[in-house]
């Protein structure tokens, strides 16, 4: 009973075939579960299927076959609009390229998912956006536009946006891919902090030391899971970031 409630993601026999003259079997049967409060890193070389899996987990796409329970809801066969609703209520995305709206203030960017939630009053939406920005340490950058923010700050805004709808799961796709090492570690430290506070996180990366910040590493190859191991001693990203900054200074 409690096991069902605590399972945020339950995937079984998940496959994805991209049709064409030579069909591409991106995923060949994935069985995989994420428990509430976990911090999972998905690793794999390019072409291993980790991006496809991320798209399916994020309800951006539908699997060819298999089951996917997200927060207890069967979402594998939902149509476009229903998937949009699931993304809006249960998922927070963080992308490699930040994907913030240009010439739009930080707080408005963070508010964006709530624009599409008709149940929320605009005043409440603004309060939640302000709160989320404060959580990622940008309380003093509310009205800055992306062009006025550093890469690390932009990614923090994106993380605040991912948190603003209080999602069941935060999906981060190479969130440090565009950042330098020290800033990457600061972002990982923020994710670790959020995870300690209860946020379930699935992170896609191809960098080993980024993956070591998570509590569990799942490795993909050729559309199959080839490794699934807990990290004995996760890297303390905050300490590493401080060390990197210290050396730089």
């Amino acid at each position: 009973m409690s096991a069902a409630v605590d399972t945020v993601i339950a995937v079984s026999g998940l496959t994805k075939v991209y049709p064409g003259a030579e069909p591409v079997h991106a995923l060949r049967g994935i069985d995989f579960a994420v428990t509430r409060g976990e911090f999972v890193a998905l690793m794999g070389a390019s072409g291993s299927g980790k991006s496809t899996l991320m798209n399916l987990l994020g309800c951006l796409d539908r699997p060819t076959s298999g089951r996917y329970l997200l927060d207890g809801e069967d979402v594998a066969r939902l149509d476009r609009d229903a998937r949009a609703r699931v993304r809006n209520r249960k998922i927070g995305f963080v992308f490699q390229g930040f994907n913030l709206l240009a010439r739009t203030t930080a707080v408005e960017n963070v508010e964006l998912p709530l624009v599409y939630d008709a149940t929320l009053h605009s005043r409440e939406a603004r309060e939640r956006a302000v709160e989320a920005l404060a959580r990622v340490g940008l309380a003093d950058r509310m009205t800055h536009e992306p062009s006025q923010l550093s890469g690390g700050q932009q990614q923090r805004v994106a993380i605040a946006r991912a948190l603003v709808n209080r999602p069941a799961i935060l999906l981060a796709d190479e969130p440090t891919g565009n950042l330098d090492t020290a800033t990457s570690m600061e972002i990982m430290a923020l994710l670790q902090e959020l995870n300690r506070a209860g946020t379930t996180i699935v992170l896609v990366t191809h960098e080993a030391d980024i993956a070591q910040c998570a509590g569990r590493v799942v490795t993909l190859s050729d559309g199959r899971i080839v490794g699934d191991e807990p990290v004995a001693e996760p890297l303390d990203a905050a300490a590493r970031a401080a060390a990197l900054r210290g050396r730089a200074a």
Partner: protein, 405 residues
């Protein structure tokens, strides 16, 4: 609630791209302004012509001497002196649909007062003539029926003649010699100005027909009958009635043709109105085409905008926007652009019409109808041409859109 937020998003996007938005709406601005100005100019011309024609005398019928055909040979209207003063009396007594009847005879003569003289047109008429032509007496008075019939040597001067002969001083009571006949001035006519056909309508002297016919003209000079119909919608009936009375008066048999010709003011008016209506339609049509072009401009820019903002659309879709939210946002953007453009266009159009008016060369009559139609067409154009880009945006695949550079 949600619509308001989508509208905010749409307006925000317009505000972030001010120059592009302005250029996009420019087609609509110019289109709406063009429709308003063109129709205003066309209607202005129409009103002006209508007014000038009705200034000649409303509800007017004119009877000319002589038939258009006489014994198989055309003599031209007015060539035979078939109409008499008795015909005028007969019409006055028997016609039920005529308000005023006056004979008139026209001649050119030199008017002399003191040391100055001035060539002008002299009309010999009965007092009803002023009513038929809707001519007011500005100063002094007109003559009576009896004076008209008896040929009293009194005259009313047109404003131009009064000015040329007497300058600023009042001519009332002064003597004027017209041709070889001395007249006493009893009144000055109100100014009518230059007619649409370029003639100075105030260069005229009006006198009793008895004093003009046979004294300033040949005794058998052809006269006209000037009739004013009591009710505009009975013009045709009045014409028929007048024809019947005149045929009786001339003792024409069943088989005989009219020895007179009746023309109505309506003939002239409807011809002129038809011309200017065509003009208005033509101008409006040209302007409508520019409105259409404006609409296509909007579609063009919106399509570019969708491509340019593919990533934004991807982000919105990823965080939970449904296709119809995106559709609505882009439609609202197109709508806001066209409505804004239309409002600017109305201001510009009315302003331009005003300038034309102030320039003095044109008369304009901005039509509420044309403003309404232009606005509705502009907004419909915006929606129509906004749908294709909006649908394209709404149907984007979020994964593809996010990958877009």
């Amino acid at each position: 609630m949600k619509l308001r937020r989508l509208l905010k998003a749409a307006l925000g996007s317009i505000g972030r791209n001010r120059l592009r938005s302005l250029l996009t709406a420019l087609g609509i601005v110019i289109g709406v302004a063009a429709v308003i100005v063109m129709v205003a100019l066309g209607r202005g011309a129409q009103l002006r012509i209508e007014r000038e024609i009705s200034a000649l005398g409303r509800n007017m019928l004119t009877v000319f001497s002589g038939a258009s055909m006489f014994g198989g040979v055309s003599r031209g209207v007015g060539s035979m002196p078939t109409l008499t003063l008795a015909d005028a009396d007969r019409l006055r007594e028997d016609a039920t649909l005529l308000a005023y009847v006056s004979p008139s005879v026209r001649t050119g003569a030199q008017a002399v007062a003191g040391g100055t003289n001035w060539p002008t047109s002299v009309y010999g008429v009965m007092p009803d003539y002023l009513d038929v032509r809707e001519w007011k007496v500005a100063e002094g008075e007109t003559f009576s029926d009896r004076e008209g019939r008896a040929g009293a040597k009194v005259a009313l001067l047109g404003a131009t003649v009064a000015r040329e002969l007497f300058g600023e001083s009042s001519p009332i009571g002064e003597r004027v010699r017209i041709g070889s006949v001395p007249f006493r001035v009893i009144g000055v006519l109100a100014t009518k100005g230059v007619s649409g056909f370029g003639a100075d309508q105030d260069d005229v002297v009006i006198a009793p027909i008895g004093a003009v016919l046979g004294r300033l003209t040949r005794p058998n000079a052809p006269i006209q009958l000037n009739l004013s119909v009591a009710a505009f919608d009975r013009m045709k009936d009045a014409e028929a009635e007048a024809r019947e009375i005149l045929r009786l008066s001339h003792r024409l048999g069943e088989a005989e043709e009219d020895d007179f010709t009746i023309r109505s003011q309506a003939d002239l008016t409807s011809a002129a109105t038809a011309t200017t209506e065509t003009l208005t339609l033509l101008l409006g049509g040209v302007a409508a085409v520019s409105l259409l072009v404006g609409g296509i401009g909007i579609m063009n820019i919106m399509l570019v905008s969708v491509t340019e903002r593919t990533r934004e659309i991807g982000i919105r879709l990823a965080v939970g926007a449904r296709g119809r939210d995106i559709l609505l946002q882009f439609l609202l953007e197109a709508l806001a652009l066209t409505v804004g453009g239309a409002l600017l266009g109305i201001l510009l159009g009315l302003g331009a019409a005003r300038l034309f008016e102030l320039g003095g060369r044109f008369q304009t009559a901005p039509e509420p109808g044309s403003i309404l139609i232009a606005t509705v067409v502009a907004v419909a154009t915006g929606l129509l041409f906004g749908i294709a880009p909006a649908r394209r945006a709404a149907n984007l695949d979020p994964i593809e859109a996010l990958r877009h550079e």
